[in-house]
């Protein structure tokens, strides 16, 4: 299953190779042109009969990860998060490092050896280390290098009522949607762009947009859902199972209001459940695309995922299917000249 393969693939900011190769294999038979740029963005084009409007759809390939910063004389590895990770989710988790997926664990002091007050304080990154099971530096250096990335070793699975659990739904879910979309040809040039380094500052999207010069852009994301006990309703941001989310404002962008209105209208006409993303925090590639050159009309559609930026997230299959329906309906409207 595509989403499973994407979720289990490993690729952090600046080291998206495995993900890029997987996607490249999937989409090469579907598109007319495919290339990479100076930062590693994977840019594809599916032509139509018309020259315009130029539509760009973006999803980012990178996931948050941990970078190996140093190898101690004991063989233990020091690390820093690359992309935003709450240190508290790291305690006692298992990881895989680098291309060869060297297994490791993020050690944690046993409860027996802790004083009660210790357990009230969050453990900071500086106190953490990855143990790959060697006892001296030279043994570690045979297996890992400084700069290698460590990824959560989470396996993808279907759980509960039509839900998925896995890592990196932000934004493999967007990549999967984009690949699904590239199976269809539209009557306008469609640029499917798998961007890099979104998690360290939306780095890839802006240069891709600069090159492509789209008229309209859609960003497909995995976004935070906090519809869990103890969180008051107004802080949920989004709810799993209630449909794909449309952004009205986030920290990087105020999407084009007419595109937003059109998406809501299309959802209503086609009876696709949607929700407004009820949170203005967090940025996406849309921000950099909107401000490229003389400006681009952008909108963001995201899938609600609980516990994003942690080892395991939860999302709904129905939300995925509805997101796909929504974007396809939108692209058909673009074809008919209604946008």
């Amino acid at each position: 299953m595509l989403l499973k393969r994407l979720s289990e693939a490993c690729g952090g900011p600046g080291q998206e190779d495995e993900v890029r190769n997987l996607i490249r294999d999937e989409v090469t038979p579907l598109v007319d042109e495919i290339s990479t740029d100076a930062l590693g963005n994977l840019i594809t084009l599916r032509r139509g009969n018309q020259e315009g409007p130029r539509v760009m759809i973006a999803a980012h390939m990178d996931e948050v990860a941990l970078m190996i910063m140093a190898i101690e004389s004991s063989g233990l590895l020091k690390f820093n998060p690359i992309g935003g990770i709450d240190p508290r989710v790291l305690v006692a988790k298992t990881v895989v490092i680098g291309k060869n997926r060297v297994p490791g664990v993020i050690g944690s002091k046993p409860i027996h050896l802790q004083r009660p007050e210790e357990r009230e304080k969050a453990i900071s990154i500086n106190e953490m280390f990855i143990d790959i099971g060697v006892s001296i530096k030279s043994e570690a250096e045979k297996l890992v290098k400084i700069g290698d990335l460590a990824y959560f070793s989470t396996k993808f699975a279907e759980i509960g009522n039509d839900k998925f659990k896995g890592k990196a739904f932000d934004d493999r879910v967007g990549c999967s949607l984009l690949i699904d979309l590239l199976h269809d040809r539209y009557d306008f040039p469609l640029y499917g762009v798998f961007t890099v380094q979104e998690e360290v500052g939306l780095r890839g999207a802006g240069v891709a947009a600069h090159r492509i010069q789209p008229d309209i852009a859609l960003v497909l994301e995995g976004t935070t859902a906090s519809d869990v006990p103890e969180t008051p309703e107004h802080k949920h941001a989004t709810s799993v199972g209630k449909g794909p989310c449309i952004t009205i404002m986030d920290s990087s962008v105020i999407p084009d209001p007419r595109l937003v209105a059109t998406l809501l209208q299309i959802a209503s006409e086609n009876e696709i459940p949607v929700q407004i993303r009820r949170n203005t925090a967090g940025g996406t590639d849309a921000g950099k695309i909107q401000s490229s050159r003389s400006g681009v009309r952008v909108a963001t559609i995201s899938i609600p995922c609980r516990y994003i930026h942690s080892p395991v997230a939860v999302m709904s299959k129905a939300d995925y299917d509805n997101a796909l329906k929504l974007v396809k309906a939108f692209l058909h409207c673009v074809e008919k000249g209604e946008i």
Binding site: G147, V200, R203, H210
Partner: protein, 353 residues
């Protein structure tokens, strides 16, 4: 040409972010290896050394960037007693300013001292707390605002008054080594290139306004649109109290950066070149692309393959930034060898992932 002497003069020159022209003027007079030198609209100084091998109508372009601006202060108010209040340009730990000598660049250069309330009149408790920026002021020795206003205006710039100190061996300390020491690296690199051939045009840019948001790099890169961009900036040298893995060793040559801001093939090429020519180096991993001109260079236009070399420097952003001149020479040598060995084929391969 003694580039170490040039560095000493660069360190002692005044060029706070946004007002780098004195430094640019001096550099322009002291770079005989460049074929062309020009300034762009924001004041970036662009020194071009053209390819000397396989020269076609159009050669690949390599841009080097080292910033010539320094952190400093700006006068915000003239108090009625003639003291000057100030704000900072760039990141300054206010604790290094107490009892520091400065130069106020008004209608003429005036010597000044940064003072604050003396310890005698403070409680023991207050003495253990760091002084606050807003409580500091500059004393230029006048008695009232009227006297001062003839010579100083709000908006005038202030630099640290510090001459270069030559420590033991090849160690130097001074202000503005961040990043004029790396401007010196660019000059040493040009000098080395005289003894090598290179198939690429080299644009050595002394950038402006790095300290306030890598602004000069943003516009100079746009104007040049290079095929490769290499930022050269200072990196934290080893010192007590800072974990080893957060620093690079002084005297061990350049730090070669790796991380999202660095193109993997350029990183690998720097490492292999260093090994090939026995140039010692440290690795400098980073999880964020920011903090140097590389941050701006990489995302200009359609994207630029970028790399970063770091000069180990202790006590960054203080008046006594300390380095080993041999590191400057090693970094310049690594750069020169890299530049002389790359070609069109290498450049084209950078777009393939």
């Amino acid at each position: 040409m003694d580039i170490k002497k040039i560095l000493i003069n660069l360190s002692e020159a005044s060029g706070v972010s946004g007002y780098e022209h004195n430094v640019a003027d001096y550099l322009e007079q002291n770079c005989p290896w460049a074929d062309e030198i020009r300034r762009d609209k924001l004041g970036n100084l662009i020194m071009l050394k053209k390819a000397t091998r396989n020269t076609g109508a159009v050669n690949p372009k390599v841009m080097l960037a080292a910033h010539m601006d320094e952190i400093g202060l700006i006068v915000t108010k003239i108090e009625k007693e003639g003291f000057l209040r100030f704000s900072t340009i760039g990141g300054i730990d206010q604790r290094v300013l107490l009892a520091q000598e400065v130069v106020v660049h008004g209608k003429q250069n005036l010597l000044g001292v940064i003072g604050a309330e003396p310890p005698h009149s403070q409680t023991a408790d207050a003495q253990s707390r760091a002084v606050k920026m807003e409580d500091l002021y500059i004393d230029i020795g006048f008695d009232n605002a009227e006297q001062v206003q003839e010579l100083v205006s709000v908006g005038d710039l202030v630099t640290i008054n510090q001459s270069v100190v030559q420590l033991q061996g090849s160690m130097l300390a001074g202000k503005a080594m961040d990043d004029r020491a790396c401007v010196a690296i660019m000059l040493e690199c040009f000098k080395e290139l005289q003894n090598l051939t290179h198939a690429v045009d080299v644009y050595a840019v002394a950038t402006v306004q790095e300290e306030v948001g890598v602004r000069g790099a943003t516009t100079s890169t746009y104007g040049i649109t290079p095929d490769i961009g290499i930022a050269i900036d200072v990196g934290h040298g080893d010192m007590p109290g800072v974990p080893e893995y957060q620093t690079i060793k002084i005297g061990n040559g350049p730090g070669i950066a790796l991380g999202p801001h660095v193109h993997p093939k350029i990183y690998e090429r720097f490492v292999s070149t260093a090994k090939e020519w026995n140039i010692s180096y440290s690795l400098e991993p980073a999880t964020r692309p920011g903090g140097t001109d590389a941050f701006a260079i990489q995302i200009t236009q359609d994207g630029i393959p970028t790399a970063l070399l770091s000069l180990p420097l202790r006590y960054m952003h203080t008046p006594v930034e300390t380095l080993d001149y041999q590191d400057i020479q090693k970094t310049a040598r690594l750069l020169a060898k890299f530049i002389s060995e790359i070609d069109q084929e290498f450049v084209e391969g950078l777009m393939c992932f």
